[in-house]
């Protein structure tokens, strides 16, 4: 890369330096000169629509939007003048007259409302124009968020976010002029939308209360909240979270813009499911008495566990963990493993093969963005790793990358793909088509999930790599392994065996004492009960201990239930699929008598 040419210009009389190609706004902000904006967001394509960032350029009679106007070497810019103030203020007044922007009645007072802020900055105490206030509809059919068009200023930040960050283009503007309305798909409701992924990025980027998180409504301004950054443990991507808390309650969860992984973007799991979904917590130890689980103290519970543990030999004891515990807990597991016959982690089908040779791809997300062809095999990023799916979509839509999807289930990526095919039924001549699409590709990336590890999956992979190798200009494809479980690769790295089928593992040798670490799995670890024999096998075990954060059928089947910490109470690290060590910070104190996974294990196996 050639370093961009340096330019210098005067902004409000201050001499400023910048790079050629930078906009006036970028250089002004870098030089700590504040220019008001409403529709501008650093990570989005400049839009130039709100007319707040207008500046005067010497030699031009017209005002220019600083967010889109490239800075010219030697130019003289004025950002503050009476004319600009009048125009900006009139623009604000027109916005306030257009729709209902009465702050006290805003259902979602973020407190950092961009419109309100600008009104304060411009000393706006009255509006010259009559209020138009058409009665516009609200749409609250979405699972986690809604839109109140009456609050909308049509800055299109949501539209651009949906298009450029999440890459689904669910949102757009409909109609002309004063009838403009943000529209979902082909004028559907959020609840009916087939393209919306509920990533909530639009809400996070809305400068007013038009798009609002239902769970955060009426919780007061975010500015008054404490902010803690931590890491999402719902999938192996490991997105940085910025959690807003107030009085020991979560008010909202946004992506951490400083996270090198997700750079502020989240999927529905990290953004909402962990806190906006009602889930039944286990808050005290529970003991089965007369066939029913009853509250107990830690001491009572531990006494029962010890009794159960004592009555079993080492060979009759087993430890089964969920692949979402922290690296520190994993270490504890290895230290206690000699006290049990066997330690296993239950993983989804075919993931054991990924765990067999754990491989990380450094900066995979960044590289996905640079790829000119992306091949997805046996993975379902849309449902399993939303942020990866967003990166794939944006690479395809913004930068024209090719996309080939080989899978066993349909996904929303299909509609962006050049080729999408069922992995089990690939005909011969099909490969000519694939070769044609991949012709001339220079920076290919292959994202493979657990289902790529089947024999047919491996054949397809080999075939693809052969085609890519034939490309004269082609580099070796970038291989990105993408498991489903959050920390399974790191756990496998410590030597913990990955178990796909729990029943045979349990049945291999008779067990009298089984400790299951379900941790904060949203299903409370109930996934293992899906195998037919598992419930029966559990019944045959004398003492089943489940440490889980959430109540489930599994805890129902346990003799002792121990309250585990959830994501926002945990500390430690996890390793994401790029091989990054990412820290968890306790956002909230432990609820009830919950304890961290490692601490519980240490106590139990002390």
């Amino acid at each position: 890369m050639i370093a961009p040419k340096k330019i210098s210009l005067h902004i409000d009389g201050k001499s400023c330096e910048g790079d050629q190609g930078q906009t006036i706004l970028e250089i002004a902000r870098a030089n700590k000169i504040n220019i008001p904006t409403l529709c501008y967001l650093k990570e989005l394509t400049p839009w130039g629509g709100c007319r707040m960032c207008i500046v005067e350029i010497e030699g031009s009679l017209k005002v220019a939007p600083s967010c889109t106007t490239p800075a010219m070497d030697g130019s003289k810019i004025t950002t503050k003048s009476d004319r600009l103030y009048q125009l900006r203020r009139a623009t604000l007044e027109l916005l306030f007259s257009e729709r209902n922007h009465l702050c006290p009645m805003c259902p979602y007072n973020k407190g950092d409302c961009g419109l309100q802020h600008q009104a304060y900055m411009h000393g706006m105490d009255s509006i010259r124009y009559p209020y138009l206030y058409p009665a516009l509809p609200e749409d609250v059919t979405g699972r986690y968020f809604g839109i109140d068009h009456n609050r909308c200023i049509l800055c299109a930040r949501c539209v651009r976010t949906c298009d450029e960050v999440e890459g689904v283009h669910t949102l757009d503007v409909s109609n002309r002029g004063i009838k403009n309305l943000i529209v979902v798909d082909m004028n559907q409701k959020f609840g009916e939308s087939t393209s919306c992924t509920s990533c909530g990025a639009c809400v996070a980027n809305c400068p007013t209360g038009a798009l609002f998180d239902k769970a955060a409504a009426f919780r007061g301004p975010l500015a008054s909240c404490q902010q803690v950054t931590t890491t999402c443990t719902e999938c192996p991507v490991g997105c940085g979270l910025k959690v807003y808390i107030k009085e020991n309650r979560i008010v909202n969860v946004w992506g951490d813009p400083d996270s090198p992984v997700n750079r502020g973007h989240l999927c529905v799991k990290g953004r909402y499911q962990t806190w906006a979904e009602p889930r039944e917590r286990v808050l005290t130890p529970l003991l089965r008495k007369n066939g029913k689980l009853e509250k107990a103290t830690w001491d009572e519970a531990l006494a029962v566990i010890r009794k159960g543990a004592k009555s079993a030999n080492k060979t009759e004891k087993a430890l089964l963990v969920a692949p979402r515990v922290t690296n520190e807990t994993a270490k504890t597991i290895t230290t206690v493993s000699d006290k049990v016959d066997r330690v296993g982690m239950f993983v989804p089908a075919n993931e054991a093969a990924l765990c067999a040779e754990p491989s990380y791809t450094a900066d995979a997300l960044q590289k996905l963005q640079d790829a000119d062809a992306i091949i997805v095999i046996g993975a379902q990023p849309t449902t399993d790793n939303g942020v990866v799916a967003a990166r794939i979509r944006t690479s395809v839509r913004q930068r024209g990358a090719k996309l080939l999807v080989f899978h066993t289930h349909k996904s929303d990526l299909d509609r962006f793909a050049d080729i999408s095919a069922n992995i089990v039924s690939l005909e011969h001549k099909f490969w000519d088509k694939v070769a044609a699409v991949l012709k001339g590709v220079q920076r290919p990336a292959v994202v493979y999930g657990p289902n790529a590890m089947t024999s047919i999956g491996v054949t397809v992979m080999e075939r693809l790599i052969k085609i890519l190798e034939k490309n004269p200009s082609g580099r070796e494809p970038l291989l990105i392994g993408l498991p489903i479980s959050p920390n399974s690769l790191a756990l496998a790295g410590t030597g913990i065996e990955a178990i796909e089928d729990v029943a045979p593992w349990l049945d291999a040798k008779p067990i009298k004492f089984l400790h299951i670490v379900a941790s904060s799995a949203p299903d409370g670890g109930a996934q293992i009960l899906q195998e037919k024999q598992v419930p029966e096998l559990l019944q045959q075990i004398d003492c089943v201990v489940v440490q889980a954060a959430y109540a489930s059928r599994l805890t129902e089947a346990a003799h002792v239930v121990l309250p585990a910490a959830i994501w926002c109470e945990k500390s430690g690290t996890i390793t994401n699929f790029e091989g990054r060590q990412l820290s968890l910070r306790p956002v909230l104190p432990m609820s009830g008598e919950a304890r961290e996974d490692g601490a519980i294990l240490e106590t139990v196996f002390a």
Binding site: R51, T91, P130, L132, R176
Partner: protein
């Protein structure tokens, strides 16, 4: 052998007026007569004069036929092709003074044009590439590819001075050069054919008439700028243009003029069509490119410019259809040739679409520098129906309105900008006196508001707020604050909007405010729309046009219901001199009567005269007087002096007295008479007894009269001002304007008023046997008719044409019937004087029509050709002016036209105690206007004296039927009754008897009741 070609216009205008039926008829008629082997018929594209369609042009003789219908065809073929002479019935009218023209070359519409872009339109078959090639088509592309470098092509375009025809006028060569130098590949070129201005259809005509020209231009541009792919973005509303473009592109590919390796020079060029969905904003280049990309068509700020980052982020060049169409001609004929046409800064020709209130609606192409006047009046034929020109809107909805005083502006980019308008794509919408300028601004703004994409708040919300303000003003609810806010918003929307749409949207408002501010103020202050377009501000068109704002539908309905007393009360309250005005009013009410659209306007004047006459002849007047006096306000103790008992003074005095003020009217005429009513108006038009009755009525409401009060002599104005709370000056214009020709002071030359009053007073005048009257107004006709009754042989000399005469046409007609001679288009140049110092004749010069003035009338040009009219007496009736002694006595400021300076809204003079109305304040006016001014003065004086708005309280509230009458009842119009000419000639009294009851009732039935306004459900609101 083909001896003649018949070109039948197949433009969209002619298609809709039925040219296909004409073609069929022509084909079968030619075949029937066995002429089909000699005469070839060709369907061409638009020839331009769309309003005259279907049109036919016959070569080689160039005969042009207009408004041809299928039934005409047989006669046309018989005359033209069999008998070999033009078929006169369908020939167009030529210049004024000449009757018909046969060839297109002589037809002003065609003759004044210079066709470069439209060269082939209307001549060739647009769907045949061979015809284009035969007209040197694709020669320019060949020239460029085989002998010119891209730089040479760009240099040629630069040298030609061609500027972008899309509206902004950016130099095309410079734009091409920027594009050529822009880094990045591939490059794209785009033809903008998203013509969206209301009333503009230039691009459509070119695309329909000569599509290959655009294709060729684009290929040349592609070669010059290094682009191999071009797009034509055309709106879906142009199906024929799309069809013909498709054919043209297809033919070009087949002929090797598009595609790969053109002229075997290794240059590849492809053109694709993109159909727009009809969004006006997609004519903006950045929005257009987004639309081509398949995205929402919204503009983006520039820079970056398309040449830097355009279609799909690549360097792109956009030019308008007309620009592309001009390129091949420039290359073919050379930059030097093109550079010679037009003005210094605007080169070449421009196509304009003439629309609105203009005779020759259609397309015209003229060199830059042609004046608006030439385009509108010479080529466009002026305003139809004898209406006055008011303004022309150029540049479409984002352009501005240009008023009459700027008609001599040469059409070029900079000149139009200076007037606050723009060239735009070339739409010209002509407006006449019936166009409300607030309504015009509202119309164009509504268009922009609807078409705003909504991206930026100033345009999205600003235009809507402006539209709401204009709605408010048009519905009479606007205030002066609203007007201020409207102006403020104009600036904000103009300066803060993102793209050209928003930046230019306020232009129609800004220019109408600039040139027609008084109309806005009239809407706001008086809740009046003089043009009559704002229906919320009027009861009905007749009420709106009546200077007295009489409730005409109301009294017609009351009379229809047999309620003569109520009808009379309504009439006399609206107009205290019903019998008088019923005889002498110019009845402007009838000019806008909607019944005229069915058969003829309602005879409102005669009906209202009937009500007055019948009421006075019966007990009704007295009965009504009692009712009116019951509503008279208690005495206020305020004293008002009204000077002059003419229409203005009486109009004011009547209401002021009813409002409780002590009113005294001072009149210079002797003995209970008024100069105007009793002396100036002849008895046979207005019998004295009629006026006396009405004077008595006014006296009965409490008005006092003092006669023989001559200002400056028997009336001391300064004392009057001291003794009264308000002085209202209602003195007419009595001093005759001088002719300014030799012999004017000869004996036997009289001013019309001097003559009329002398006759009325029975003064003996020494008159010749032959009398010449100079002038065309009512005083001239009155003088002529009186002179004839005194036995003279009368000749009327007027400088304009008969249609231009300001006198009531019926009166002129009657004068001619009674034996007067009329010489029009003649100007007096000398009064011949005999040895005794008496008049012996008048020498007049022939006048020919000259240029059009700002109202669309031709200014007279006096020629050297003269004639002598022998006569013993000359009466001049060319207008009156003010007596300046009065203004001096009261120390009042005057205007440049020597009228009293008054506040137009309050009629107050520079002396706050003194008000002035009628001719004295506004210059000469007719009776109704003078009375209207008095009525207004009464309202204003009362408001000033009492601080209350109680004028309306004087009126009774009548309940009457409020259902819309069945359409068309009442039969034909009843003309005013008139004695037969033989009886009339000799008589000095009422030549026109009052309507019969039956006639009056019939006229009431004829009223369509425009005062009943229906909602969308059809029910009265």
């Amino acid at each position: 052998m083909i001896r003649s070609h018949v070109l039948v216009c197949g433009g969209v205008g002619c298609i809709s007026s039925g040219c296909h039926a004409v073609q069929e008829a022509l084909a079968s008629e030619l075949k029937k007569r066995g002429l089909d082997s000699e005469v070839q018929m060709i369907e061409t594209s638009c020839m331009g004069p769309c309003d005259l369609g279907p049109v036919i042009l016959i070569h080689p003789d160039g005969t042009f036929y207009q408004r041809v219908t299928a039934p005409d065809v047989a006669a046309l073929v018989e005359e033209h092709f069999v008998k070999g002479r033009p078929y006169k019935k369908l020939l167009p009218k030529g210049k004024v003074g000449e009757n018909v023209v046969t060839t297109a070359r002589d037809f002003a519409f065609m003759a004044k044009q210079t066709k470069i872009i439209l060269d082939n339109c209307g001549l060739i078959d647009a769907e045949n590439i061979d015809e284009y090639i035969a007209r040197d088509g694709y020669a320019a592309l060949g020239k460029v590819l085989t002998g010119m470098t891209p730089d040479q092509v760009i240099a040629e375009i630069k040298a030609s001075g061609l500027r972008g025809r899309g509206g902004a006028g950016f130099p095309t060569g410079v734009k091409w050069d920027l594009m050529r130098r822009a880094p990045g590949t591939p490059k794209y070129i785009i033809c903008n054919a998203d013509e969206g201005d209301p009333g503009a259809f230039m691009n459509r005509a070119v695309l329909e008439g000569d599509p290959h020209r655009v294709v060729e231009g684009m290929a040349i541009g592609g070669y010059a700028m290094g682009a191999n792919r071009g797009f034509i973005y055309i709106r879906a509303e142009y199906p024929l243009a799309i069809e013909r473009l498709k054919i043209a592109i297809d033919q070009a590919y087949k002929s090797g003029l598009l595609g790969n390796n053109l002229f075997e020079k290794g240059f590849n060029f492809d053109i694709e069509l993109r159909i727009g969905a009809g969004a006006f904003v997609c004519g903006e280049e950045t929005a257009l490119m987004r639309s081509i990309e398949g995205k929402r068509g919204q503009p983006q700020p520039r820079p970056p410019f398309p040449a830097q980052r355009g279609l799909w982020g690549k360097p792109s060049n956009i030019n308008n259809v007309e620009t592309w169409a001009t390129v091949p001609v420039i290359i073919r004929n050379g930059a030097g040739w093109y550079n010679n046409i037009g003005t210094e800064k605007s080169k070449g020709t421009k196509v304009f679409a003439l629309a609105g209130k203009i005779k020759n609606t259609g397309l015209v192409e003229v060199p830059f520098g042609t004046t608006l006047r030439d385009i509108i009046f010479e080529i466009g034929g002026g305003i139809p129906d004898g209406k006055q020109f008011k303004a022309v809107q150029t540049g479409g909805p984002s352009g501005g309105v240009i008023p009459g005083q700027h008609l001599d502006t040469p059409v070029e980019y900079e000149a139009l900008q200076k007037l606050g308008s723009i060239m735009g794509s070339g739409g010209m919408v002509v407006m006449d006196e019936d166009s409300c300028m607030v309504g015009v601004a509202r119309f164009f703004l509504e268009f922009c508001c609807d078409e705003s994409c909504g991206k930026c708040p100033p345009c999205r919300v600003g235009t809507k707020q402006m539209l709401n303000l204009l709605d408010k003003i048009c519905s009479g609810e606007g205030t002066l604050t609203d007007l201020n806010q409207l102006e403020q918003l104009c600036t904000i929307v103009r300066d803060a909007s993102l793209c050209g749409l928003g930046q230019a949207a306020p232009n129609p408002v800004l220019t109408t405010l600039r040139y027609f501010r008084h109309e806005y103020e009239q809407h706001v202050r008086e809740h009046r729309c003089v043009a009559g377009e704002c229906t919320a501000l009027q009861l009905s068109p007749c009420e709106n046009t009546c200077p007295l704002h009489m409730n005409i539908p109301g009294f017609l309905q009351l009379l229809k219901e047999g309620r003569l007393d109520d009808a009379f009360e309504q009439v006399v309250m609206d107009n205290p001199l019903p019998s008088t005005t019923g005889r002498v009013c110019q009845h402007p009410c009838e000019t806008r009567c909607r019944r005229a659209g069915m058969d003829a306007s309602v005879n409102m004047r005669e009906t209202h005269r009937y009500i007055g006459d019948v009421a006075y002849q019966s007990h009704v007047a007295k009965k009504v007087l009692k009712r009116i006096l019951k509503r008279k306000k208690p005495a206020t103790g305020k004293k008002v002096a009204v000077i002059g008992a003419g229409p203005t003074g009486l109009g004011a005095a009547f209401y002021l007295a009813l409002l409780g003020h002590k009113v005294t009217v001072y009149e210079s005429a002797p003995d209970a008479g008024d100069m105007f009513f009793h002396y100036a108006l002849p008895q046979y038009r207005l019998p004295k007894r009629v006026v006396d009755r009405e004077f008595a009525f006014i006296r009965s409401v409490g008005v006092q009269f003092k006669f023989n009060a001559v200002p400056g002599k028997t009336l001391k104005l300064d004392k009057l001002a001291r003794d009264n709370d308000v002085v209202f000056l209602a003195i007419g214009t009595w001093e005759e304007i001088a002719l300014g020709i030799p012999g004017e002071d000869a004996e036997g030359l009289y001013a019309s008023l001097e003559f009329l009053t002398a006759v009325a007073c029975g003064k003996k005048l020494r008159l010749g046997e032959k009398i010449t009257v100079i002038g065309g107004g009512n005083p001239a006709i009155d003088a002529a008719r009186r002179a004839m009754r005194m036995g003279a042989d009368v000749t009327i000399v007027y400088r304009g044409s008969r249609e231009d005469m300001p006198a009531i046409p019926d009166e002129t007609e009657q004068a001619l019937e009674e034996g007067a001679h009329l010489i029009t288009m003649a100007a007096p140049v000398r009064v011949l004087v005999g040895k005794d110092g008496r008049v012996t004749g008048l020498e007049v010069a022939k006048i020919v029509p000259g240029k059009f003035d700002s109202r669309g009338r031709r200014t007279p040009v006096i020629t050297k050709e003269t004639r002598i009219i022998p006569c013993g007496t000359v009466i001049k009736a060319i207008g009156e002016k003010l007596d300046s002694r009065i203004t001096k006595a009261l120390g009042l400021e005057t205007t440049q036209w020597k009228t009293i300076k008054v506040d137009p809204w309050t009629l107050q003079t520079s002396n706050p105690k003194v008000y002035a109305g009628g001719g004295y304040a506004s210059g000469s006016a007719n009776v109704a206007a003078a009375m209207g001014s008095g009525k207004k003065a009464a309202k204003m004086i009362d408001e000033a004296l009492t601080g209350l708005d109680r004028f309306e309280e004087l009126w009774p509230k009548f309940e009457y039927d409020w259902t819309i009458p069945p359409s068309g009842q009442g039969g034909a119009r009843n003309p005013a009754r008139l004695l037969p000419v033989e009886e009339r000639k000799g008589t000095w009294i009422d030549v026109s008897p009052t309507f019969t009851e039956w006639q009056a009732k019939a006229e009431c039935l004829r009223c369509l009741r425009c005062d009943i306004k229906t909602g969308t459900d059809g029910k009265p609101r």
